[in-house]
Point group: C2
Chain length 310, copies 2
Amino acid sequence: MKTRVPEILGIEYPILQGGMIWVTDAGLAAAVSEGGGLGMIGAGGMAPEMLTEEITRAKSLTDKTFGVNIPLQRPDAGDMIEVAARSGVPILSTSAGNPLSFTALAKEQGMKVVHVVSNVRMAEKAQEAGVDVIVAEGYEAGGHNGFDELTTMALVPQVVDAVEVPVVAAGGIADARGMVAAFALGAEGVQMGTRFLASLESPAHDRYKELVVKANDRGTVITGRAFGPVRVIKNTLAEKILQAESEGWSTEQIMEMIGPGRTMKAAMEGDMDEGSFMCGQICGMIGELKSSAEIIQEMMEGYKEVAATL
Amino acid sequence: MKTRVPEILGIEYPILQGGMIWVTDAGLAAAVSEGGGLGMIGAGGMAPEMLTEEITRAKSLTDKTFGVNIPLQRPDAGDMIEVAARSGVPILSTSAGNPLSFTALAKEQGMKVVHVVSNVRMAEKAQEAGVDVIVAEGYEAGGHNGFDELTTMALVPQVVDAVEVPVVAAGGIADARGMVAAFALGAEGVQMGTRFLASLESPAHDRYKELVVKANDRGTVITGRAFGPVRVIKNTLAEKILQAESEGWSTEQIMEMIGPGRTMKAAMEGDMDEGSFMCGQICGMIGELKSSAEIIQEMMEGYKEVAATL
């Protein structure tokens, strides 16, 4: 297995856990890191104090390297990065927004930077900004999604051809087959969200995990395609949003109808009708909850078996 | 390389050329078959007499196995299948529509049947219908596209897990990396459209081929998402259609605005503004025209090299 990622990030296996709002807390991040991957605390919904607490808690659970994921569109993204750096977190994962100033800020503080992109131009800009690892995330991924709708299969080799820094593939990967496929495309690691969402250590509501486990291949849909695409489980809320979009409602009208707190309703309350359950297309392949360590071990052992058949 | 596909279809390599309206004529199909893959005459825009002529012409160009692709939504699909069978074509490729009665018809005539699907349920139905090979085609593919938007990375392993018949991956594949990735996901072959569109033997208009070669990763878009999704090069016509869709025009209004003959305008006249240029997301990776034989040879040789790195 050819990969520069473990050495750069200080981890055992090139398997990253993607940041997921309300889902990737200290417990899940620590479990993934203990399993040999890179756990990441998703700071999306957290105030700076809460992030500090979660970092402290993660440190009490593991001595291994973990990271923090901070969406750059947050007005206080810079403050959050400083919180993470001061707390001694060595890896910053950023998504959305322009990585330029924030990468410089994080690197001044001695952090390594992983940046998520959804097209080649974003990858080139991330490389110019000096990021250490680029995550190329395809349209099949759960949660926030690029406007260009490039899939993992089409995106990864085009990004690999465009940049020198190591590329990690994300979107549509939940087992060893997906990991070997990603490496065949030129990736040097994989990042998974949905698979770790459906893990024993994930703090997502039981009904959320059950939705993921029971979903079939047609279980997800993109809402907000025109103004902010998000891949979610097809439920009552998702269908309401799609209906409004097809009727030509304005972005403002749709945003008002959606209202705040939908992802929290999903992750914390398990509100099947009113929650927004972010989830990737690979959910149809996820049939049971497993521990994060087991997910990682099965991928690494399976990798050799799958590669041997090629 | 583990694959049942060459033996079932009577070809040398498990590389299929997808049917493309106005593009996959006898010349291209014969070139692909001469190169060791499975060439296919795309009967989409042809009357029965023209199909007969093209089959005769392909036979004059190659002694190797080739097939005919017939979209099942054609009112005369049954007649077209009989034309192909009577002309001695051994392989029928079908897409869209229900494969049940047509598979029986083709198999009575001694043909092997390859059926294209875009979700797991369609694959299960195709298997029940008795098809010999299932092509699982992802959202990144050019031309007509499934409503579920499943990508190759997410779709292929889920289809492989659901059926016993061999699965061929399509969508987002244009080089050996994509082929190895497809096999890692459990596919036993690949089908390519866009790569063969940009071949020396393709009869597509030179301006069409140039569009494919020059396109970057963000070069394509889905039009008709609500009523009949088609992936095309982002040009004036595509933008007009997207605009109408975002303004909430009815399907009838959009269809009237589009009018007939748009794919012919693209493929035959190379009308950059008014044509509908079907094309897959992988166009950004295609940098030059090559002969079909070269495309196939590079994939087969590259396969071993890529697999050896895993």
